[in-house]
């Protein structure tokens, strides 16, 4: 039994951003700054065709997200099509508006896994971070979820505003009894980048959190599967972002543009082909955007000659661009980057800055 990591020939997962409409306005939202309008969204038939193409290409996992996927009235129909095509169907949801009847229809259609994120253990703070009163709704949804046969993951999104409460936060998750628990530090893209100075944890907070996570991992072994994502601004080597550009996953935005990752649109000069005009397999294999950072010809000599290049693929292209202005630069998280020193400054959080919510 080994985990499959990098099937080069076909992508492993497809992220479908069904809509950018969302009842939440999280301070760390990963959607692009310019969101797609609802009248331009792909039709039911477009998505169904795309899911069938994905399964034929060998994609195994489909992640339905948004925005809030529940906003789509055709959600059960989309799930049924994806499942019939052979995909494993995961939905990432705020839970807002999810009744027991609706959930029953989604599970009946073939939903395999549902992920619900919590913003804090303290209700007032959780609602503040989400920009709406969603915390109590999420708590009330959990016992409903547990009536159904599907995998259930709780995501705790952590940052400076809630990291001091991590121990109690994990205890809350334990009581709610999911199959999986993800503790993920905010990644600074999209709207989160706007609030970076507010959300950036202090070094002391990060160091204090590590043994707490490790203790939870040991305690929960065999009961709740725990995954934790380390904040990469505090690392010495970059993350293998999305498993390497154009190697493991593709993302389709609400209007049908296909991207190698959530934030690839920030990189100037890239244009993204649409499933309205092209077959998904062609986009994966041949589109300029997916080929832009494959292989090592674009890399600096430092990366090209580095033995880690097969591990982290030079790090995150979006982060390299956002922090240095050059999408081909070494990810500054890497200790070999000439820009690595800048992270010391960016790690300083500013408690007096004001939060910016998206509209």
């Amino acid at each position: 039994m080994t985990e499959v990591t990098s099937p080069m020939s076909s992508p492993f997962s497809l992220i479908a951003e069904l809509t950018h409409r969302c009842p939440l306005h999280c301070l760390y939202c990963s959607n692009p700054l310019e969101m797609q309008k609802s009248q331009d969204e792909l039709s039911t038939d477009d998505w169904k065709r795309v899911f069938q193409q994905a399964a034929q290409m060998g994609v195994l996992h489909l992640h339905l997200t948004g925005g809030e996927p529940l906003v789509r009235k055709d959600l059960a129909e989309l799930i049924a099509t994806a499942r019939a095509a052979g995909l494993y169907v995961n939905m990432i949801t705020s839970g807002v508006g999810l009744t027991e009847e609706r959930l029953a229809s989604l599970v009946e259609a073939g939903l395999d896994h549902l992920q619900l994120s919590f913003q804090d253990i303290d209700e007032e703070s959780a609602n503040h971070i989400a920009g709406t009163r969603a915390h109590a709704i999420k708590l009330a949804l959990v016992p409903v979820l547990k009536k159904f046969s599907l995998a259930f993951t709780i995501n705790l999104v952590v940052h400076r505003m809630n990291l001091d409460r991590l121990e109690e936060f994990i205890q809350l998750a334990e009581q709610l009894g999911p199959d999986r628990l993800e503790i993920a530090h905010v990644q600074y893209y999209g709207w989160a980048l706007k609030n970076r100075a507010l959300l950036m944890p202090t070094e002391e907070q990060v160091m204090r959190s590590l043994p707490i996570v490790e203790a939870a991992r040991q305690r929960l072994k065999g009961k709740i599967h725990l995954e934790a994502v380390f904040p990469d601004y505090y690392g010495s080597f970059p993350k293998a972002c999305v498993g390497g550009w154009g190697r493991q996953m593709m993302l389709i935005d609400p209007v049908g543009q296909v991207l190698p990752c959530h934030s690839a649109a920030v990189i100037p000069g890239l244009s993204f082909d649409s499933v309205r005009e092209h077959d998904l397999a062609w986009i994966w294999q041949s589109s300029p955007a997916f080929n832009r950072f494959r292989g090592d010809s674009w890399m600096s000599d430092t990366c090209k000659s580095c033995e880690r290049k097969e591990k982290d693929f030079g790090g995150c292209r979006c982060q390299a661009f956002l922090l240095t202005g050059d999408a081909e630069a070494i990810d500054p998280v890497c200790t070999f980057s000439p820009h690595h020193g800048m992270l010391t400054e960016l790690r300083v959080s500013s408690p007096d800055v004001l939060p910016v919510w998206r509209g």
Partner: protein, 87 residues
């Protein structure tokens, strides 16, 4: 997990209809050797002992001790990874 446990595949985990993998949340577990044949028999009714007996019947001459050890060790690892449950 012991020989009298009644194992079943955890909610949200399932065998891929054609590929040699177990689909699990956020991932895939590659199946090797007899793993698929073992997992196919987890129905929440049969005990580990019953599964071992069936395998021995299907493969006469297989060393019983080894089959029992292999089945238990696979199921224990999968239980620790939270993709198999037992009662």
């Amino acid at each position: 997990m012991d020989i009298n446990s009644i194992p079943r595949i955890a909610p949200g985990c399932r065998l891929h209809p054609t590929e040699e993998v177990l689909l699990v949340p956020e991932g895939t577990l590659q199946l090797s050797g007899p793993a698929r044949e073992i997992l196919e028999r987890l129905d929440g009714q049969r005990s580990v002992q019953a599964i071992v007996d069936e395998l021995l019947q299907q493969y006469p001459g297989a060393p019983a001790d080894e089959v029992r050890t292999d089945v238990l060790s696979l199921l224990a690892r999968m239980e620790e990874r939270n993709v198999v449950r037992s009662s």
